[in-house]
C-alpha cells in the first residue's frame, strides 16, 4: 500500500490572502468608528463632514482655519510625540499577547517606573552619555520587577495574571503616593510641592529637530522638538521584530501562545517562558513614561500622563501585536488626540475622539474574529477538497 500523496500548500500563499482579509477588517472597523464619531458630532448639532475636514486639515497643516497662514509641522511633530509612548506600551502588551499572556498592569508598571526614575534622575549625577542610558535601565528594571511579581505568582501559585496585574496596578498607585510623599517630605527645599524636582540637564533627552532639519525635512523655525525617543523606539521595534518573529526564543514564545501543550511536548518550559515574557513586557512598560519624563515634563507629579497603559492594550489589539501594525495604530491614536483639539475651537465636543478610540477597538476585535472564522472555514474547505481524494473520503468536514 502506498502512502497517499497530499499536496500541502505552503503558508506563504495563505498569508498573502490573509493580508487582504485583515485589511478589510481594519477598514471595516475604522469605518464603524468614523460612522459612530460622525453620528456623535451630528447629535451634538454640528456637521460631521465639517468636523472631519477640520480634523484632517489641522493634523496636516496646523492652520486653525484662518486660511492665509503658512503650514507648519507642529501637528505632525505632536502626533509623532504622542504616538511614541503608545508604541512602547502597546509593544509591552503585545509581547504578552503573542503567548496568550495578558499584561493589564502596564499602567501601574510605567507609573511606578516613572516615579522612581524621576527621583533617580535627580539624585544621580553622571554625564548625559551615561546618565540617560542608566535611567532607561532603571525604568526597565522597575517595570520588570513589578510585572515579574505577576509572573512569579502565575508560575508558582497559578494566579491568573489578569487579576494579579490589575491588583498590582492599584498597589502601585498607593506605593507611588507613598514614595512621593516620603521623598518630598524628606526634601526640605520642596516642601509644598507635590511634584518631584525638575531633572538636571544631564538627565534630559535631547530632541531631534536638528537632524530632521539637516535632512531637509523640517523648517528651522519649528519650535516643538521631535522626541529623541524616536530613535529608542525604532531600535526596540526592530529588536522586537527579530526576537519575536525570527528567533528561536520568539518561535517558542509564539508556539506557547498558540498551543502550550504542544510547545511543552516540544521541550519548551512554559514556566520559564511565562516568567521571561512577563519580565520583557514589564521592562518595555517601564519605558512608557520616559518620553514625557525625560523629554517634556522633567518631573513626576499628579499631572503625569495617565492611561497610557490602558490605551496601549487598544493600540496593540489594533496593530495585531506586530511592530509595524502597532506603529500605524499608535500614529492613529496620536492623530485622533491631536486633531480633536481643533474641534473645541469650533465648539464641537472634542470628546468624540475618545468615543472613536473605544469603538475602533471593539469593532476591530469583532472584525478580526469574523475574519479568523472565515479563514478557518476556507482552510477547512480547502482541506476537504484536497484530502478526501487522497484518503478515500475518510475526513469529514463539519463546517
Amino acid at each position: 500500500m502506498t502512502a497517499p500523496t497530499v499536496r500541502v500548500r505552503g503558508p506563504r500563499r495563505l498569508d498573502l490572502s490573509g493580508v487582504g482579509y485583515n485589511a478589510a477588517a481594519l477598514a471595516l472597523a475604522i469605518g464603524v468608528a468614523v460612522v459612530i464619531g460622525g453620528l456623535a458630532v451630528e447629535l451634538s448639532g454640528h456637521s460631521a463632514l465639517h468636523a472631519y475636514n477640520l480634523m484632517v486639515q489641522y493634523a496636516a497643516c496646523n492652520t486653525a482655519g484662518s486660511g492665509g497662514d503658512p503650514c507648519t509641522a507642529d501637528s505632525v511633530i505632536d502626533i509623532i510625540n504622542r504616538a511614541i509612548p503608545y508604541y512602547l506600551s502597546a509593544l509591552a502588551v503585545a509581547i504578552g499577547f503573542r503567548m496568550a499572556l495578558f499584561n493589564i498592569g502596564v499602567e501601574g508598571q510605567y507609573r511606578l517606573a516613572a516615579v522612581i526614575t524621576a527621583i533617580a534622575g535627580v539624585e544621580i549625577h553622571l554625564p548625559a552619555v551615561f546618565q540617560i542610558p542608566l535611567l532607561l535601565l532603571i525604568a526597565m528594571a522597575v517595570g520588570a520587577v513589578w510585572a515579574g511579581i505577576a509572573g512569579i505568582l502565575k508560575v508558582t501559585r497559578g494566579v491568573s495574571e489578569v487579576i494579579s496585574t490589575i491588583m498590582l496596578n492599584y498597589i502601585a498607585y498607593g506605593l507611588i503616593a507613598f514614595i512621593l510623599s516620603s521623598y518630598l517630605s524628606g526634601n526640605t527645599s520642596n516642601n509644598l510641592s507635590s511634584a518631584t524636582p525638575n531633572l538636571p540637564a544631564a538627565s534630559q533627552m535631547p530632541g531631534m529637530n536638528r537632524i530632521f532639519h539637516d535632512l531637509g525635512l523640517l523648517a528651522p523655525h519649528d519650535p516643538d522638538q521631535i522626541s529623541g525617543f524616536l530613535v529608542v523606539i525604532a531600535i526596540i521595534g526592530t529588536a522586537f521584530y527579530f526576537i519575536v518573529e525570527r528567533s528561536r526564543f520568539g518561535f517558542d514564545l509564539r508556539a506557547s501562545g498558540i498551543n502550550p501543550w504542544a510547545a511543552q511536548a516540544g521541550g519548551v518550559s512554559s514556566r520559564k517562558m511565562i516568567l521571561i515574557t512577563m519580565l520583557i513586557s514589564g521592562a518595555l512598560a517601564g519605558l512608557v513614561g520616559l518620553p514625557y519624563l525625560l523629554g517634556q515634563g522633567y518631573n513626576y507629579s499628579s499631572e503625569f500622563p495617565a492611561n497610557l497603559g490602558f490605551n496601549g492594550i487598544a493600540v496593540a489589539l489594533l496593530g495585531r501585536n506586530k511592530p509595524i501594525g502597532i506603529a500605524f495604530a499608535a500614529l492613529l491614536w496620536g492623530f485622533l488626540e491631536r486633531s480633536a483639539q481643533i474641534l473645541d475651537l469650533n465648539n464641537i465636543p472634542q470628546e468624540i475622539y475618545v468615543l472613536m478610540q473605544g469603538s475602533i477597538v471593539l469593532a476591530v476585535v469583532v472584525a478580526y474574529e469574523i475574519v479568523r472564522r472565515a479563514k478557518v472555514r476556507r482552510a477547512e474547505r480547502e482541506v476537504a477538497r484536497e484530502v478526501p481524494e487522497a484518503l478515500g473520503g475518510a475526513v469529514e468536514v463539519t463546517a
Binding site: 456623535a40 489578569v162 492594550i313 487598544a314 475618545v354 469583532v366 472564522r373
Partner: protein
Amino acid sequence: MSTTLEAPVAEPLRRQGIRSLGGRQWLLVSLAVLVLLSLVRATTGATDLTSDGTIEAALSLSVPLLLAGLGGLFAERVGVVNIGLEGMMILGTWFGAYGGWQWGPWRGVLFGILGGALGGLLHAIVTVTFGVDHIISGVSINLLGAGLARYLSGVIFTGHSGGGATQSPPGKGAISTFDVPLLSGGWGSPDVLGSLEKHHWFLVSDVAGVLRGLTAGVSWLTLIAIALVPATYLFFWRTKLGLRMRSVGESPLAAESLGVPVYAMKYIGVIISGALAGLAGAFLVIVGANYYQEGQTGGRGFIGLAAMIFGNWRPGGLAAGAALFGYADGLQLRQKSAVHGLLLFVALLVALMAVRALVRRQRVQAAVCIVVAVAFALWFSLSSVVPPGIVGFTPHITTLLVLALASQRLRPPAADGVPYRKGGAG
C-alpha cells in the same frame, strides 16, 4: 473499583467544605472577630474601630463593591469573564446622574441600571455571538464606557448650573433613609443601641456600635442591595433557571446536549451582570454623592471582581469580601489612627489561625501564620501611623494574598472565560 474513584472526588469536596461555612459557623466567626476587635479597641483606645459612624461609612462603601461583585458573579456563573464591570459601572454613574437630575433619585436608579445593562448587552454580543476573547472585550468596554460618559457629559451636562464636561448638575432630592424602631430610635422609640454604645463597655458597647451602624440611617437602596445577596443565592441554587445558568458556566457542551439554550443563558447572565454594575454606579451617584463626576468609580468595578474571587464565586463569601474591603476604607475615612489598631487586630487574627493550624498539625501553615503574626505585631509596636497610601490598597493586596495562598481551594466555574460556539455539542 469504586474506592479508587471515590478518593480523588471526595478530597476536593472536603476541602471545599472548609470555605462554605454553615449559618452557625458564620455566627461564631463573626462573634470571634467582634471579640478580637473590642479587645483591640480597649487596649489601643481607637474607639472608631467599632463605632456606629465607622460601620455606617463602611456599609455605604461596601454596597457598590457588593453590587459590582454580584455583577461579576452573574457573568462568571454563565462562563463569561467580565473585566468590563468598571466600564459598565461608569455607564451606571452617568445614566444614574442623568435620571436623578431630570426626574429624581428612583428614576435615576432605573436609568443607572439600564445604562449598565446596555454595557452588559454589548459585552454579551461581542463575547457570546462573536466569540471574542472575554478579557479583550471587557477592556474595550472599559475604554468605551469612559469615552461615552465623557462625550455625553460634554454634550448634555455642559451649560447647566453645576454641570460640566466632567461633572453633572446635582440630582433632585435623595433616597430616604430609615432608623430601625426599638433598636436605633426609629418611629420615635428610644435609641437603645446608641445609649449602650456611649458607655464603652467591653464587647457590649462594641456590639451595640456595630448594630447601630447597621440599623441607623440606612438608605432604602442599601437595604435592596443587601437583600440581593440571599436573592442571588436562592436564584442560582434553588431555581430551575439558576441551575441552567450555572450549568452553562460549568459545562456548556453538556448543557446544550440537554437542551439548555446556552447563548440565551449567557446573554441573560451578562445583561444582569451589567445591570448590577449599573446599579452599583447609580448607588455611588445617588446615595453617595448626588452628582456624577468623572473617575467617580475609582476602580471599584475591579475591587468588586476581587471581592467575588475572595468569596470563591459565591454570594455569601462575596458579601464578606465587600464588607471587609468597605470596612478598611470606612475606618480610614473616620479615624486614620484607628487603622493602626487594625494592625494589632490582624496580628491576633493570624495568631489564632496559627493555633488552629497547630491543632490540626499543619506545620507549614502554622509556621507561615506565626511569621506573619509576628511581623504585624512588630509593625504595630514599632510605628504609630499607617501611611494612607497603604490602607488604600488593602483590598488589592488581600486579593493577591487570597489568590496566592488559597488558589487551590478556590473553585471558579469550570468553563469560566472559555469562548463557546453554538453547536459544539453536536
